[in-house]
């Protein structure tokens, strides 16, 4: 059970990372964490570190690339950038998500007489 929960979270987290990079362009880990925190409010207000294993995984899958660069306040930071494969992955994930969401939505809207 515990394992499953983490998987779901990591899956959604990965999607958020990809979308953030898609919208904002190359960003370092802290930047990504802040954006996700701002938008999602709840998720990632604690345990921001879990972002890094997700980033590593995405990098291994070829969805993002990373390189060292100077941050806004001239600190050395690692910048992540979406690759072409990452764009495709995002598209696919989004479609998936939309489908799932639509199906779930329909189930919520369904009434007893519809099923009769």
């Amino acid at each position: 059970m515990k394992q499953n929960k983490r998987d779901v979270q990591q899956g959604t987290l990965a999607l958020m990372v990809l979308k953030t990079l898609d919208v904002l362009g190359p960003l370092h880990g802290y930047g990504i964490a802040r954006r996700i925190e701002q938008i999602s409010d709840e998720l990632l207000s604690v345990n921001q570190g879990t972002l890094y294993p997700v980033l590593l995984r995405l990098e291994q899958e070829g969805a993002v690339e990373s390189q060292w660069g100077p941050s806004e306040n001239n600190r050395r930071a690692r910048f992540y950038r979406l690759t072409r494969a990452g764009h495709k992955l995002l598209e696919a994930e989004k479609r998936n998500w939309d489908q799932t969401a639509a199906v779930i939505a329909r189930f919520y809207e369904v009434k007893a007489e519809d099923l009769a």
């Binding site: 802290y30 570190g49 879990t50 890094y52 294993p53 590593l56 291994q60 070829g62 600190r75 930071a77």
Partner: protein, 893 residues
């Protein structure tokens, strides 16, 4: 795709062991610093800002763990860690490692050896031959006796009416006199084969071509062509590529060389190497006195190919039906009780394969037993090893190792031992199987076995390694997982006498080991006893001081008449040569491998055969002084002499078996017998002697006829000389005498009678010898296992011994105490071994001679051996126990 790419990256990260730890640390620092700055900007005090940033980031260690888990492959990394750890440990306990690996190598080596041999006779006997598994052989049974050849006419009948075989070919081995280009003849073993032989086997020529597959075998002389083996082509003809198309002399007749067979192809005659092949249609040209249609008379071996989808049983059933139809169509008594059988390569009666496959069950059984013994031994060694590591495992568990990690480490340890043992055993087995070759009786012929390693054997070895790991690993895994931390960590204090309840399992394992050992020893004892009985049995003739040789006169171009003159002259010359006590000719030497069993029709005036009684008897032709030369004293009458020749009255000598059967009144001498329509007078009766094999206890009737009264058969003769001195000096004498009459005539099979008969004895010695090797091996394994266990228990109990000595026990008492600990093991061993032997002996029964299956001597000596084994393995640890210094032992804790 992405999953694969990710796996590659993770594997690379594991392989290079280049952690991204540095990168992660830097990223985390940068993250926290940025967060801290933001916190300060929003008004927090620096210390609080930093603290909040850390809190928000989460547990650094947990993140690192997670990061590493994503980065590499934790499963493989753990495994590698276990491997490194295990290797370090095994290096530290070198004695244990060596014993375990050697024991395993011994067991696995034996199994691999048997596997290589099974492969060589059953699965892959003939390299270069296409789809060996679909080849079958056909032989005939006559009156319940197997292994008869098939005639060409019978083969033609099968070809016309059979549906189960896609193709069939005939072949027979033959000694051919091959002349190299400088004119020197050499007797070479070759094959006479039907024209479609190579086509059926699917062999591709290395050079030139093979026989036209559709040529008629019965158009004699139309295709006097020869195919050479690669080896013969290289050794005798210098690998001359221009030889194809040229002519060479075989049996003084020109044959045109049409091709060279690929390297490694040496015929399919059950492990007997053939060096060249001539077509059946050349039979008339191989011998000047061949009958006009030799294929009508000669026996042949038949090979067929079963099409895929045809089962052996249905093919065999069709073959039996065809045989019945054929026999019925002949309208002759000759085919009474005649049928045809289908054989696979391992049961093809010619050559060595069937002889070897007879031994294979015994060897397989012994090897499997040995392997079981080895596994028991390894399991008990590993169990003991695990017991020694109790404290370590307890500590590992205490600081958080999961049972899975503990079990995986133990399995890795077992796996490494099993892997190393298997590799060693595999290499040893491959070598050993070739050495075993030399143990075979060779009958003076070149053997060829495909003793190569192949994928099947590799897979078998790998399967053994995995099997051993799982089977033997269970004991230590179970033991490690059941260790109670409390007990293990507090051991030092309380226990003085160890923990006896833990030894029950070990005792059972040891007892079973001794039981198997006992079984092998009993079987070995029975076979050794058998062997002794056979060797000590009087064969009925004198094997010593006799030289034998054979000459092939028809192969050298002699006609029957010239050959008879030559042989008479040669005998005369030999008899007067210095050092020769007597000289003779024969068609069959006692216990020889050549020319025996020529059954002829006979009748006895006044004797009325019972209905269905076959009036057939084995006959040999023997020269003057034959029985004198063989050291056989006649019971009645006289030996053959020079005077028994073609113009003198026809005579015969019979053996006692014949005399008792047909002249029970003892009045055989001077009676008359008709053999092949020729009436003869009986001039002598000889005692029964070992005719074929040294364990011949049921002698068949034999009639001996004078060589010089034979109508034909002078083309091939066996010479025998009895010497007054050593046989070595006779060899030169024989060569000179032959050369004086014909300089170019090759002398074949020059061997003493002892060498000829030794081959027969060897056939009986081999199983006993092989089982002896197994017995030694199992005793060795048992000693190692017992020693290791007793030695460890002595170390474990040294404080107990110290206390006993301190309390007044003598050193002798301690010594006996240790040895007495093995009593139960021995009792268990003898009981299980005794029960096992009862089963094992049933399988051996047919191999025994003059020994009952429950031979007390064998059982008793096995028991004594077992006791000695236990004593030997216990004596060193027991002495060590007796020499414990109480002061030192008690102070050391």
């Amino acid at each position: 795709m992405t999953a694969l790419r990710r796996l590659c990256k993770r594997l690379r990260s594991v392989a290079t062991r280049r952690g991204g730890d540095e990168r992660l640390r830097e990223e985390m620092e940068s993250h926290i610093a940025a967060q801290t700055e933001d916190n300060i900007r929003s008004g927090m005090a620096p210390a609080k800002a930093y603290r909040q940033a850390r809190l928000k980031f989460g547990g650094v260690e947990a993140i690192r763990e997670q990061f590493h888990a994503e980065e590499g492959l934790p499963l493989i990394e753990n495994l590698l860690q276990d491997v490194r750890y295990t290797l370090r440990q095994l290096r530290k306990s070198l004695g244990f490692t060596m014993i375990a690996v050697l024991t395993l190598a011994l067991g696995i080596g034996a199994l691999i050896t048997v596997a290589v041999w099974t492969n060589a006779v059953l699965f892959d006997p003939w390299p270069q031959v296409r789809d060996v598994r679909s080849l079958r052989f056909i032989d005939a049974t006559v009156l319940g006796n197997d292994g008869y050849s098939v005639r060409y006419g019978q083969l033609q009948f099968l070809r016309q009416h059979g549906h189960s075989f896609s193709q069939s070919a005939a072949f027979e081995g033959s000694d051919l006199n091959v002349y190299s280009r400088n004119g020197e003849p050499q007797v070479t073993h070759g094959g006479t084969v039907s024209s479609n032989y190579f086509y059926l086997l699917g062999v591709k020529p290395e050079l030139g071509r093979f026989f036209q597959p559709d040529a008629d075998d019965r158009v004699y002389g139309a295709h006097d062509e020869v195919v050479l083996s690669d080896a013969l082509w290289r050794t005798r003809f210098d690998a001359d590529r221009n030889l194809v198309g040229r002519t060479i002399l075989i049996n003084r007749h020109p044959f045109s060389v049409i091709g060279v067979a690929p390297k490694g192809f040496l015929g399919i005659y059950g492990g007997l190497a053939e060096a060249l092949w001539v077509p059946l249609s050349s039979l008339c040209d191989l011998s000047p006195d061949a009958p006009p249609d030799p294929l009508q008379l000669y026996g042949l071996e038949v090979v067929v190919r079963l099409p895929s989808g045809v089962a052996d049983t249905s093919a065999a059933a069709e073959l039996h039906l065809l045989a019945q139809r054929y026999a019925a169509a002949q309208h002759s008594d000759n085919n009474n009780g005649w049928t045809l059988n289908l054989r696979d390569s391992a049961h093809f009666e010619r050559g060595f394969f069937s002889g070897i496959s007879e031994q294979l069950p015994l060897l397989t059984g012994a090897s499997v037993l040995l392997m079981v013994l080895v596994c028991l031994n390894i399991a008990s060694l590993l169990g003991q090893h695990a017991a020694r590591k109790r404290r370590e495992v307890a500590i590992r568990t205490a600081i958080g190792a999961t049972p899975r990690r503990i079990a995986s480490q133990v399995l890795v340890e077992t796996g490494i031992l099993a892997g190393t043992g298997t590799l060693t055993g595999w290499a040893a087995g491959l070598t050993l199987s070739k050495v075993l070759y030399l143990l075979l009786p060779n009958f003076g012929l070149t053997q060829t076995f495909n003793l190569q390693n192949d994928l099947r054997i590799d897979a078998f070895a790998a399967a053994i390694a995995v099997g051993v790991t799982l089977v033997c690993g269970l004991v230590p895994v179970r033991q490690s997982l059941r260790i109670s931390q409390h007990e293990a960590l507090h051991e030092g204090g309380a226990a003085v006498a160890g923990a006896p309840h833990k030894r029950t399992a070990q005792r059972i394992l040891l007892g079973l080991q001794l039981g198997i050992c006992f079984m092998v020893l009993v079987c070995c004892g029975l076979l050794a006893h058998t062997d002794l009985n056979i060797c000590l049995r009087d064969p009925g003739f004198d094997r010593h001081n006799t030289l034998t040789a054979s000459i092939d006169l028809s192969g050298a171009g002699y006609s029957q008449d010239r050959a008879r003159v030559f042989l008479t002259g040669l005998l005369d010359r030999l008899r007067h040569a210095p050092g020769v006590a007597s000289a003779t000719l024969t068609t069959h030497l006692p216990m020889g491998d050549n020319g025996s069993g020529n059954a002829r029709n006979f009748s006895i005036p006044g004797y009325v055969p019972a209905k269905g009684e076959q009036m057939l008897v084995v006959t040999d032709f023997d020269g003057p002084d034959f029985f004198h030369t063989m050291g056989i004293a006649l019971r009645q009458g006289r030996d053959f002499t020079d005077a028994d020749n073609s113009i003198s009255p026809k005579v015969a000598i019979i053996n006692e078996a014949m005399a008792h059967r047909y002249w029970p009144g003892g009045n055989a001498l001077n009676s008359r017998i008709v053999v092949d329509q020729v009436e003869r007078q009986l001039v002598g009766v000889v005692p029964n002697f070992a005719y074929h094999t040294p364990n011949d206890t049921d002698p068949s009737p034999v009639v001996f006829l004078p060589y010089l009264q034979a109508p034909t058969g002078y083309g091939y003769a066996i010479l025998a000389l009895r010497s007054g001195m050593t046989t070595a000096a006779l060899t030169d004498q024989l060569r000179q005498s032959v050369a004086a009459l014909d300089r170019t005539l090759p002398l074949q099979d020059v061997r003493t009678l002892e060498q000829v008969t030794d081959d027969q004895y060897q056939g009986f010695r081999v199983p006993a010898e092989l089982l002896g090797v197994y017995a030694l091996a199992s005793v060795f394994v048992a000693i190692m296992g017992l020693y290791a266990v007793i030695a460890y228990s002595v170390i474990e109990r040294h404080r107990e011994f110290a206390v006993r000595i301190a309390l007044g026990s003598t050193r002798g008492n301690i010594f006996r105490l240790v040895l007495r600990g093995t009593t139960w093991v021995v009792v268990l061993g003898v009981v299980t071994g005794g029960l096992g032997s009862i089963a094992a002996v049933q399988l051996l029964r047919s191999m025994l001679f003059g020994v009952t299956a429950f031979d007390p001597a064998s059982y008793l000596s096995a028991a004594v051996c077992l006791l000695l084994t236990v004593f030997l393995s216990g004596v060193i640890p027991a002495r060590r126990a007796a020499s414990v210094d109480p002061m030192q032992a008690l102070r050391s804790e």
